[in-house]
Symmetry: D2
Subunit: 350 residues, 4 copies
């Protein structure tokens, strides 16, 4: 990667390793002897810090390695065999996890989405339509709600929206689960008004993303009220999600939740994304979905796409008619100002 001409890459937000302070920490403790499976003091410290940040000191934290793993594990563990999970049609569990939820025995009950989001009203309607159906005993029962914050399209639930969803969930006793794979980019976003404490209050379970947010790998599953999932440890083991050296995950989250690093770590990504959006707007390239976070969706024609392909890696999102294509740039905590500058130069030549 040290060639004179270096192709830019804004293809995803998990191309780099970890925040340097995480690497240092791993180096420092490398020859310590820690017990396995998360029963060590570093995990304990990380758990305390996370629960404090979420204002739910009596909750539980479980560390797992990745997002699909976290989703499959949480959903299988929470649902009864006769239940399914309500999610947006665009939800990651519905479209991009190779059928992991169904492989665990459960139907994804999809709702149409608006820029990646679903509403409290739509959830309530689905629940009613189940219970009002005279034959509902032949139908999959809605058993929990899955949303992502930020969503797969980079949008954010407002505190009002999340509160409304939480209220519907509690009214109908549906656990609310939030997939926070990119949570740091939500927390760092000026438009955001949902804090970690709000998640700790409004959700029954959520995960704080590490893989895309400064860790080498790992996600922290938070259960604000202890005891939601009995024998969760054994379920984690059974599903192959228990890291032998659990302290590797603990150490990373301990660093991320020291001195508020997790709240700050997404800022450079948001700033870079803002600058890139401005550059796209100046070129009259239409932005899509209204994402304010680190994912930038935009529509290009064939010629523009070909031009970009030479200079910068992006993600193909979807064809959108008339020969246009929606592409995605993603910035990350590790995106350098130099790369952003270089990308903007490319965009100005479009």
């Amino acid at each position: 990667m040290n060639s004179a001409f270096r192709k830019l890459s804004f293809a995803s937000d998990y191309m780099e390793g970890a925040h340097p302070s995480i690497l240092s920490r791993l180096g420092e403790i490398n020859f310590d002897k820690n017990p396995g499976y998360g029963a060590d003091s570093i995990c304990e410290s990380a758990r305390r810090k996370i629960l404090a940040a979420c204002s739910c000191p009596k909750g539980e934290v479980h560390f797992v390695v990745g997002g699909t793993q976290a989703n499959a594990l949480v959903i299988r563990s929470l649902l009864k065999p006769y239940q399914g999970v309500i999610a947006a049609e665009s939800g990651h569990i519905n479209v991009h996890e190779a059928g992991a939820i169904e492989a665990g025995g459960h139907k994804v009950l999809t709702l149409p989405h608006s820029s990646g989001k679903i509403s409290a009203e739509a959830i309530e309607r689905l629940v009613w339509s189940y219970w009002e159906d005279e034959t509902h005993e032949h139908i999959v029962m809605p058993g929990m709600v899955y949303i992502s914050q930020p969503t797969e399209l980079g949008t954010l639930y407002s505190l009002d929206e999340l509160t409304a969803i939480s209220q519907v969930c509690r009214k109908y006793e549906l656990p609310l689960y939030v997939d926070g794979a990119r949570l740091a980019y939500g927390l760092a976003c000026p438009e955001n008004d949902v804090s970690l404490q709000d998640l700790g209050t409004l959700c029954d379970i959520f995960y704080i993303g590490g893989t895309k947010c400064g860790a080498l790998f790992g996600e922290a599953v938070v259960i604000p009220k202890r005891g939601l999932i009995p024998h969760f440890f054994t379920l984690i083991k059974q599903q192959g999600a228990l890291l032998a050296k659990g302290w590797l995950l603990g150490a990373q989250f301990d660093v991320l939740f020291t001195d508020g690093l997790y709240l700050r770590i997404g800022k450079p990504a948001i700033e870079a994304a803002g600058r890139i959006r401005d550059a796209l707007k100046e070129q009259n390239i239409p932005l899509c979905f209204g994402s304010p976070t680190n994912q930038i969706f935009f529509a290009v024609d064939e010629k523009q796409r070909a031009f970009l392909r030479e200079k910068v890696d992006s993600s193909f999102w979807e064809a959108c008619g008339g020969g246009h294509t929606i592409l995605r740039f993603a910035t990350s905590w590790a995106t350098s100002p130099e790369d952003t500058d270089a990308l903007i130069q490319v965009l100005q030549a479009l």
Copy 2:
């Protein structure tokens, strides 16, 4: 852990981090931009080196995070729904993976073991008893064979034994899968006569352990003949075993398979284990199971156990009658001569 009195720990072989050259490598590449899911050049390099070491250049290598994950994934992917996996009663998949194989829909067809090992003859008898049963269509069909090298009791299959098992497996078209969680400790053992090339020749699939053998985490699943499991990538994803930053695994195995490090890395553990066994023998403490590798099993009485408990962490293995208990010490690539000396001093005071 810097106190003047430091309790020794020989409780397991996954208490430390990674070989220093792995940590350096991760630091060097931390800000490179790598594509996700193992589609990067580092993984590619690691795969080439592993396949060369196993003399199966046309094979496949897939990196996953942990051993239970590897086992569940491989076994679910290989078996048909009407098949089960043959294993020793003492096999890790039968006793210590929280029912992961059954959770994936399959029965573990157990055979009695001899010091953790099963024989070609016993496998053949089980297969015959299935086919000879007039009602076998109502019975789980044996569909593959699982063994561990070294076994859970630290013993090793000889090349003759493994060859015989391989021949039976091929005769009856049962894929042979070897769990190599501690493979480096087998390879470094003077008693061992089974090489990586032998595994590449005799097995249909096996994994080379990283977690317990010098990596931070990770196992390399090797398929000597490409194509054994169609769409394995999607199955890995579906089971939550696909690491987004696959290059983290690739980089670790690339280091382990550069200049033969993996073949050497277990040596200090074997030497330390030898010295500890000698010390135990001098004290007339009975050794168990005949393990020549990095796990040392030995039987103590109540008084000896109480004495040891103060000075050194070990693993409880099993009660063995007459107030005696089998304990386990495990050494690792990271065991220091100082710790071994200190342990021997403790043992001499028994």
Copy 3:
């Protein structure tokens, strides 16, 4: 049920027992000693007759007890773990089987329907969109196609439509499975141009419904080309779908496929349905979905619904706005002309 005033019931087509010749047959053979699990001569005879009727003499027939069981069994047995089944959104497996397909580990990949039917074009588009997606290895692969003939809305695929679907399926190597729960009512319908032989030629697997079509219970799963599903017997057993006294199923289908009874048995139902439709039209009650078979869907207002509720049992289908409701009447092989007359009288008073 012998009261002077007898409320009519057209609520479903599985309210009565079996065709009298089936009951007689069961009586005749009651004290014969038959081997279990379908290995008897009666099953053998029934299989031969069914395969002859379907012009696939070298095929396989397996008898199971019910439709949901047949669907779950066939779909789980055919799909690989990384695959899902394409079906209409209105397909029985998607809406009314309590998540049995997902409980077996598979996603239902839904297509919008037109009066219960899906098209060859829509199937092909879905397959292409899968293969064209650069990330399709993270997505459930379409692995087979499920359709119902007649559909859940009483409509029929024409021979042209079915041929087109079959061609797409063969082009992309997707097994085509037809749910024939109400097949007798399709075969007896003048609008129908799809014969049993066509199913034997165009499908990879289908079931001939008994439960709703004159049997006490039971469905005959037909595989035109022997060997499609290896060890299907064991899979049937494993899923609890193997009847110990398999000859109970064989005897019923043997009667149904003697002298072409199955081809005739639906006629009275179709004639009754035609008369009921005429009566509805005369009253200007809108018919829905264009069903020509034994299910009659029609829209009523609140007052009409209340009037009907007193006199006749129907099935609620769905609310359709403006205070209107779609109801369903179902006729069956056992519907008596007297009951149809009585229903028509009721309708004339609407």
Copy 4:
């Protein structure tokens, strides 16, 4: 089967159809119109009679079609994902259901058996060994107990033995499930001291066998305390175990539980078995397992086996060394005195 020479068959107890009063009843109600899925008055009547016979008037009864189906359904529905079911090694679920329990995600935790039975003590030891293992969170938790009455080897738990098992189960909160596939043959046996009321008191769930005990097909799952399995109806549907015409099952059990027929129906089988055992003893043929019920196990040498093979169908049970084989004769409610006489004549010629 009307030839002059008719080979006798004592191969199993499900070769004939149903008690004549059941066939008559099915004929009488054949053209009644009954609602589906067990929501009819006949099922309701049968449920009341069964609960009365079991002295648990507030319990639940669910009708399913077969025994493997009942077992898989009950065990999957009761166990949590991290639990397994304790059973005898010889238990039907462990050896003869094609892995149905594992296909549902659960391990069968086997205990050695004594003539098909397990003891309260062995259950308690297994539970303790789980909880005492420091690593039990990595191990399948015992979650319920499965036994058969009569057992697969024809033996019977005494009331004392069953009471002891029940007490252990309640002490450790393990639901106790009894497979009563051949229950009528236990109830009719003079050695038996376990009544239906005892089952209603000591078990958490059990099934009363119909298929082998005078019904065409069907088993009645009894839950003495309502509410043990929430949403059981949906689970029955999901597993393909819900018969559309549920009243077919209700009608059969209604007849079997009218005027105590079920308590009497096994008597002829027990008497015939007794006469056959006497004839075997007279010939010095060793009886096996001590079965007092309708299954007769006995050991023959090669010559005897060859002789018998010509005259009568039996079941091969197992080879037992020295060229001897254990065979099984089974009598049933439908065994005629003439057939028993003929068999005894054959045995006298051995």
